[in-house]
Amino acid sequence: MPNGSRCPDCGSSELVEDSHYSQSQLVCSDCGCVVTEGVLTTTFSDEGNLREVTYSRSTGENEQVSRSQQRDLRRVRDLCRILKLPLTFEETAVSYYQKAYQLSGIRAARLQKKEVVVGCCVLITCRQHNWPLTMGAICTLLYADLDVFSSTYMQIVKLLGLDVPSLCLADLVKSYCSSFKLFQASPSMPAKYVEDKDKMLSRTLLLVELANETWLVTGRHPLPIITAATFLAWQSLRPSDRLTCSLARFCKLANVDLPYPAASRLQELLAVLLQMASQLAWLQVLRLDKRSVVKHIGDLLQHRHMLVRMAFQDGTAEVETKQQQPQGRGQQEEVGDSTFDLPKRKRPASPALLLPPCMLKPPKRTHTMPPDSVVTGDEDISDSEIEQYLRTPQEVRDFERAQAASRAAMSVPNPP
């Protein structure tokens, strides 16, 4: 209570402070007279300092995320949960998507490409953590086209400057073999077809390593070769009951898709096994074929390094023998005529199957070597050379007449 103040109406000294909303007033408690009024105040200090506040700052406009980005971030998390990835994968994929969204090439892309970006971020995360996930699986989940996916994937890896390791084949073998329904008896799976998972997995891994050493994996899709190796491993563990089962039926029983090239990969793998079997003394007398070699896959895999080296050594010796003859012939011709170039060196025919399959069956291509011309680009061009590219006036008139006739024929309606 301030000292010395009195009410101007009744002279009472009972003055109290009373707040009228945000305004503090000095009021006489006896007669209600308002002695003094206070100043208006606000809780916003900027306004007190007479500074302007912009609309975007007051409303948090810049903090908003666009609808498209919100939806795609949700899709990244949903895709990670569908694939049952660890939580760290999810956070990494989200951060990659946020980085990619800052790029102008990605932000201005179509919706189809933005959906593919979601899959690309998840795939990059799985690759960096050696999680076996193929591009085909991602495209299947997103209903995306592989061509769009591949171009977008290359673009993102390049723009973000990421170093993405290659697909780990052993992890993919383990993951893909686990998806086969071969390890428990069921009404659709006879008991003689059920197999132990660990034995199956180890034999399949050995077969895939053998295929990798013999050029069957390089430059190919991995799933067909894994399917063929799994089928061979499964057959070889109990050949008496399973040799009658075909690859298509095996895939149907195991409830997996049959990749189209898997049959070709199976034949190539069997051919490699036959070539290895010819190096073993106790198998040479048996005259094996592609059906009976399956019974001896265990022996072949046990000694596979030695067998592959022996087969390759034979190839090397023959290649070196054939290689000397063309060189000698070339040297003689070079001595005789110094201006004559060395003959174009062709690859000598190599035996067996330890070359890449695309070299064993090269596409037939008649590539005629053009003669060495002395064209400099600045020769004179005569008029007679140009006349062959122009029509004569008579030909022009005939062409116009033919065009008019064809146009008239098309414009005449058919009689009903």
Binding site: M154, S166, E213, T218, R220, G315, R345, P356, I381
Partner: protein
């Protein structure tokens, strides 16, 4: 199988793409009517004209820009372009042959050994990228030469790119590369020219890395 270090590699130029301008507007209907061996793509507004010798396909736009593809050397591309310009002059257009430029070269080279693509990719990151699910070859980029190499497991290498800058701005670099590369392998090109030298330089630059990843079974 070991490769001799002094073996000669054949580099075969399979395609050269060049452009030039006529500096006058071209009436496509007139070209389609009076020119032989022409295809008028009315919906996209261009005319395709094929020359017999040299074997070139030209894309003619009404603005006067012409793209020639299919030549097997730069001299052949220029000769074909000049022949095309002469044909258009005969048709009555005021053609001025300007701005001739080679924009792309495609070359093929075969190594005498197979290449282990996974090892090559691992040793030459980040220039090399190998996606077997997308393409059977390794894509290797040489930024200084603006070249892109497709390296297959058979040893075949395809060189693509706009290789024209090599001749103008990297003479010293080119000389150093030639001196270093000639010590390990000699190369012979089917034709001469600045772009072909750049192609040879690209092949020589990639050869040591490819040689390290060649096929060997121990």
């Amino acid at each position: 199988m070991d490769a001799d270090s002094d073996v000669a590699l054949d580099i075969l130029i399979t395609n050269v793409v060049c452009v030039f301008r006529t500096r006058c507007h071209l009436n496509l209907r007139k070209i389609a009517l009076e020119g032989a061996n022409v295809i008028y793509k009315r919906d996209v507004g261009k005319v395709l004209m094929k020359l017999r010798k040299p074997r070139i396909t030209a894309t003619i736009w009404s603005s006067g820009k012409i793209i020639c593809t299919g030549a097997t050397s730069e001299e052949e591309a220029k000769f074909g372009a000049r022949r095309l310009a002469r044909s258009l002059q005969k048709l009555g257009f005021q053609v001025i042959f300007t701005d001739f430029k080679v924009v792309n070269v495609l070359a093929v080279c075969n190594m005498p050994f197979e290449i282990r693509l996974p090892e090559f990719t691992k040793n030459n990151r980040p220039h090399a990228s190998y996606e077997p699910e997308l393409h059977p070859a390794v894509c290797y980029r040489i930024k200084s030469l603006r070249a892109t190499l497709q390296i297959f497991s058979t040893g075949s290498i395809t060189v693509t790119g706009n290789l024209d800058l090599m001749h103008t701005c990297s003479e010293l670099h080119h000389s150093l590369l030639m001196d270093a590369a000639l010590s390990c392998v000699g190369s012979r090109s089917s034709s001469s020219g600045p772009n072909v030298k750049a192609v040879a330089t690209a092949v020589e630059q990639i050869y040591p890395f490819v040689f390290e990843s060649r096929k060997e079974i121990l």
